[in-house]
Symmetry: C2
Subunit: 209 residues, 2 copies
């Protein structure tokens, strides 16, 4: 098994935290995104979509998606469950993970990738070059503000993002919020429930991953 | 159980096809998106995020996401499996479903919602109003062209999107392509593998859902 990672990138961090929560260690290769190693012919022979994370299994199977990789480890190493136990829980964890990703993760990516000088011409990850759209950076910032409000309201009613237990929805939310902070979009003072949740989740040993 | 649907919208169609493949019938309520019924206080009491589909379970649980709803039905009604059997299959189906959604479904949505006159001020679904960005409509059309090429290449190597069997990744791809056609983005003549796959999948009874 081989895990293609990049310590500074948010997507593979989701998998690193997931593995840390399960106590799993996987042989890991660093891909140097800052120098566009993901766009080299060598890496595109591994993942034609030129993104990390990617996971190679011993039978030759390749999984080129953070959540796909987590689904694999949840199936072969179910304890502790991070994607829900009952049918209802599985559904709610899936729905919340996706809600956080759609409204938070992708919004931060819009804000960050459409305004960072070093990402000029690289407004989306992957094999194709897309120009930055300044209006999209602005919309991303507005969406992130709405996301913070949504999470503040949710975490005023629920101990964790998807309900009573820590799940992959919390992992996506943590990675999103730390990514937002790097993009100079910190949690507002007014979002106390979200700030308290963030302190609590950041204190778990897995958050260092 | 109650399913909140809209027959003309692509997201709930994913669930309708999934249910048809499993032979499940669920009591259904139509939400009139054309007249913004999803934004009324009555519907927002059901789903505060003002989107369809949504599923009410008898114990009061609400699932406000198409894939979350499919996860629920896969768990309570596993046959035929539409999300993979082994750990490897589950991971690959998840990864491909997400790849199609990211590169295809969201790209068509970008192209469509940022250019359709009737969606002025409503460039994203959900409770918040966002102005259309013409450059984003243009980028969406370019991304859809890349998506068609990617799927053509994939379906030249694989019978179905995620491998040897029909799965939810095919459902997302079918709904994406039919949505693209409505947005006047038909599959190009040069994408023969994708066109043949589309004819084959469209001939399944579930495609009428």
């Amino acid at each position: 098994m081989k895990f293609y990672d990049c310590t500074t990138a948010p997507s593979p961090r989701r998998v690193r935290i997931f593995l840390a929560e399960k106590g799993i260690t996987v042989p890991t290769v660093q891909v140097d995104l800052r120098n566009n190693e993901q766009l080299t012919p060598e890496f595109r022979a591994i993942n034609p979509y030129a993104t990390v994370p990617s996971l190679d299994l011993d039978d030759g199977t390749r999984i080129n998606d953070a959540i796909g990789i987590c689904v694999y480890f949840e199936a072969i190493h179910p304890q502790p469950p991070l994607m829900g136990g009952s049918a209802e829980e599985k559904a709610l964890v899936t729905a919340w993970q996706r809600e956080v990703e759609r409204n938070g993760f992708y919004a931060v990516m819009e804000a960050f990738r459409n305004s960072t000088p070093g990402l000029k011409g690289r407004a989306l990850p992957g094999p194709h070059d897309y120009e930055q759209i300044p209006a999209l950076a602005e919309r991303g910032r507005l969406r992130v503000a709405h996301f913070f409000e949504q999470m503040h309201a949710r975490l005023g009613q629920s101990e964790f993002v998807a309900g009573a237990g820590y799940t992959i929805a919390d992992i996506t939310a943590l990675v999103t919020i730390d990514f937002a902070a790097r993009a100079r979009l910190p949690i507002p003072e007014t979002c106390g429930h979200l700030r308290r949740w963030h302190s609590r989740i950041s204190a778990r040993p897995s958050a260092k991953a």
